[in-house]
């Protein structure tokens, strides 16, 4: 089989890279995971590894030349003498292996990237004024997302989105009591952050917790049942939309007081530190929480004690209807990190890989005992603040511009381009999720309600 190796996707803001050095020459045997070449962009230098095993047969872009993202750069074949069409030499002389020159990257021809000097690779505004408080960049050399992980993140974001969409319709149909705060548009931040968490790690969440819960891996059945006020819900009907969670599954029931979860996350991290656990806490909050006292008290405390916690500010630009620009003089919440002597970073919160890489670095610092990081993920909620909010305080153009940057659509096209995903597979995945959600709704609606007098239980242990 013939595999076309392509220039890696260099991040949303980088369109081309320079091949610094080929580490293999034509004829060399190549193993999956082995470094093939070094690429330099205006932001980073990265080593690129082969995602297939075989023999390097042809180099299409030589050392010192530029190549655009996802363009073919080399040919690898399974066996050393397999015939293939050299795209640069054989124009017009087609043979039986012509299909191999198809320029559409297929899944098998993908490469994954390694980012040794990372923060820049996917950050939109990595030059925030907090630069000098950053951790040494070499600490993050291990980062790498496999195609399997990429697809898993895509599926998870889609599950978040389709769950929220179903909730919306259930609400409109009057089948769901209470209110809901929806997170369509913010899936990349939830999924990117949770993608690097390990068993035993804990997230704390907010009044907008559905995507956090799904990203952390809580079962959609128990979430759906909780939202539908059933005994089988993750909080047995005592929590509701704003308090979903299950500590055993790695998510503290969501804290719906703005900023209220920050000191609690600090305490959880303190317990991890004192009990010598290697776990970390990811503490989600919004831009609105950056101006409440517990933000200051909690982050300062975590900083002075080097606690294993990552503060994740999902800056979706509005606290309810109030623009963050009206209530904060700084441009970025992450600039506040300097006040506590910890690293702060602003990341494109709609780029799930950028979030995952940034979180990966922050998580590593936390796990190593180097203390907390303040990550600001810039994102946007497509829905209003809550279900009763039509969002008249935002212009149509603004919403439309952010919808262009829909984290799922953007990532879908990246994965299509990289060949990790096909249109048929997208349909398949969506159909699967639809079935899963049908099942969850059926489960929830067929579940028993709590008894009225159950409200008297569970006050004390």
């Amino acid at each position: 089989m013939v595999h076309t190796i392509t220039m890696p996707d260099l991040g949303q803001t980088v369109s081309e890279g320079k091949i610094l050095k080929w580490l293999k020459k034509p004829g060399d045997k190549v193993s999956r995971g082995e470094f093939l070449l070094e690429v330099e962009t205006d932001k980073v230098t990265m080593e690129v590894e082969s995602y297939v095993s075989g023999y390097l047969r042809a180099i299409l872009i030589e050392q010192g030349q530029m190549g655009s993202a996802l363009s073919p750069i080399a040919i690898v074949t399974d066996s050393s003498d397999e015939p293939f069409e050299h795209p640069l030499e054989s124009a017009g002389s087609r043979d039986s292996s012509a299909e191999a020159s198809d320029s559409t990257p297929s899944k098998a021809s993908s490469v994954s990237q390694k980012v040794p000097a990372a923060p820049a690779a996917h950050s939109t505004s990595q030059a925030a004024p907090t630069t000098d408080s950053r951790a040494p960049e070499h600490a993050f050399a291990h980062l790498q997302l496999t195609p399997g992980q990429k697809l898993a993140m895509y599926r998870r974001m889609l599950l978040c989105r389709m769950f929220e969409d179903r909730i919306y319709y259930l609400f409109l149909e009057g089948r769901l009591p209470g209110t809901v705060h929806q997170s369509q548009g913010q899936e990349a931040s939830a999924v990117g952050v949770c993608s690097v968490l390990e068993e035993g790690d804990v997230i704390t969440s907010t009044h907008r917790p559905h995507s956090h819960a799904i990203a952390r891996g809580l079962s959609v059945e128990s979430l759906m049942a909780e939202l539908l006020a059933k005994k089988t819900g993750c909080c047995q009907g005592k929590g509701g939309s704003m308090h979903v969670g299950d500590l055993a599954a790695g998510m503290l029931p969501a804290i719906a007081i703005v900023g209220g979860g920050i000191p609690i996350a600090v305490g959880l991290a303190l317990a991890f530190q004192i009990l010598n656990k290697k776990n970390i806490v990811a503490c989600f909050f919004g831009d609105g929480a950056a101006n409440i006292g517990t933000f200051h008290e909690g982050i300062n405390m975590a900083a002075i004690w080097n606690l294993p916690v990552v503060f994740v500010c999902e800056n979706n630009k509005y606290g309810a209807s109030t623009s963050v620009t009206k209530v904060m003089k700084l441009k970025h919440v992450s600039e506040r990190a300097a006040a506590y002597g910890i690293p702060g970073e602003t990341v494109d919160g709609n780029d799930v890989e950028a979030v995952s890489y940034a979180m990966s670095r922050a998580a590593q610092r936390a796990r190593e005992g180097s203390g907390p990081t303040l990550l600001e993920l810039e994102t946007y909620r497509f829905a209003g603040h809550s279900r009763s909010d039509p969002g008249h305080y935002r212009s149509k153009q603004e919403v439309a511009a952010w919808r262009e940057r829909d984290p799922i659509k953007v990532y879908e096209s990246v994965l299509l381009k990289q060949g990790h995903l096909s249109a048929e597979e997208i349909d398949q995945i969506k159909a699967e999720i639809d079935r899963k959600l049908d099942e969850a709704i059926r489960f929830a609606e067929n579940s028993p309600s709590p008894l009225p007098e159950d409200c008297l239980n569970d006050v004390f242990a």
Binding site: Q236, I274, G293, T294, M301, D458, A461
Partner: protein, 356 residues
């Protein structure tokens, strides 16, 4: 049990081993920290070398024994102290946090009332929050922001347990129980009952020395203590007011009025049985608290006893409390403000005279 002039009260007739409240509380912390390494302390100035062991010396020497990993000095960040205690409790520790003055509990209100008290409930009974928040209360010539009695604010919050010991023996036994409890406990300590020595001695403090045995003991929550039996009237009190009620009972006895004195020891859970039994016997109830009158814990007790013991009452229930003003500074005003032994005596005499 015997009473003596107000500046020196001995709780036990057994002379062997007498401790002050501060010493008894410190001993409770030390024993529990030795017994269970998940017990940690969080607070301001609690373990600083060359410092004073918290505002009232309760934690003096504990950092030396247990190290700064377990006796943790915090920034002046009460909300985060409370929140960190909650998180640590959820994460498998048994934190004992403190605020230097109970008044600062208002800074922790969201954490205690919205989170500590509700997380178990909101989680459908899955979570436990085993933490203690210690808080010194009581008027001690420090004025309006360092002298309040705040029990009632927390009594209104389901999910919190409240302890309020009046003597060293109870202080130690209740604090040990609080630390082992799987629920959040707010632990009120009265500044005039600490018996702190040296520079930290409280002006106007009463030296409550109590017998505290060497051997381990726990005092269960929800068990009031009948500290003086009597047939004519029931006095129900907590903290400093227990001592004033005992003194008042001694004075009343001279004129033939036998007052029964009950120390509530814990406000949540509350020992309704002991109070109801006493009221059925005496027919008269007087509640003595240092808190402001309106909405104080005494109001709740009065309402409950009115509902459950109406047929046994032969007089209106009376509440003796601080007036509805902030705590004043001037000693002359403060003495007027805080219920005194004389006020208790006067109210009981009036009741006894009007409702034979």
């Amino acid at each position: 049990m015997m009473s003596s002039p107000e500046n020196k009260i001995e709780i036990s007739s057994t002379p062997d081993r007498k401790l002050t409240m501060v010493e008894a509380l410190r001993e409770a912390l030390r024993e529990e920290m030795r017994r269970d390494e998940t017990v940690i302390l969080l607070g301001e100035d609690i373990g600083i070398e060359g410092g004073f062991g918290g505002a009232f010396t309760v934690t003096l020497g504990l950092a030396e024994e247990f190290g700064h990993r377990r006796v943790i000095d915090t920034p002046i960040s009460e909300a985060a102290i409370a929140g960190a205690a909650i998180g640590a409790a959820l994460g498998g520790l048994r934190p004992v946090a403190d605020v230097q003055y109970g008044d600062f509990l208002f800074l922790t209100m969201d954490q205690l009332a919205n989170h500590a008290a509700k997380l178990r409930y909101m989680s459908g009974g899955k979570l436990r929050v085993p933490m203690v928040m210690r808080a010194p209360v009581g008027a001690t010539t420090r004025g309006a922001q360092h002298g309040q009695s705040l029990e009632a604010f927390f009594l209104h919050v389901p999910g919190l347990k409240l302890a309020c010991p009046s003597n060293p023996y109870d202080g130690k036994g209740l604090l040990k129980t609080a630390i082992r409890d799987d629920n959040p406990v707010v632990f009120f300590e009265h500044k005039l009952l600490y018996g702190s020595k040296g520079a930290r001695k409280e002006a106007g403090g009463i030296e409550v020395l109590g017998f505290v045995p060497e051997e381990e003991y726990l005092i269960p929550f929800g068990q009031a203590k009948l500290v003086r039996p009597g047939r004519d009237v029931t006095l129900v009190a907590n903290l400093l007011m227990v001592h004033r009620s005992i003194q008042a009972a001694g004075i009343l006895a001279e004129s033939g009025i036998e007052a029964e004195v009950i120390d509530v020891r814990t406000l949540a859970p509350f020992d309704w049985g002991t109070v109801a039994e006493s009221v059925r016997k005496t027919g008269k109830l007087v509640l003595v608290e240092e808190d402001n009158l309106t909405g104080g814990w005494g109001a709740e007790v009065a309402a409950r006893v009115g509902e459950s013991c109406f047929g046994y009452l032969d007089a209106p229930i009376r509440r003796i409390a601080a007036p509805d003003t902030p705590v004043p500074f001037a000693p002359v005003m403060e003495r007027f403000y805080v219920p005194s032994t004389d006020r208790i005596v006067a109210v009981v005499r009036e009741l006894a005279a009007s409702y034979k």
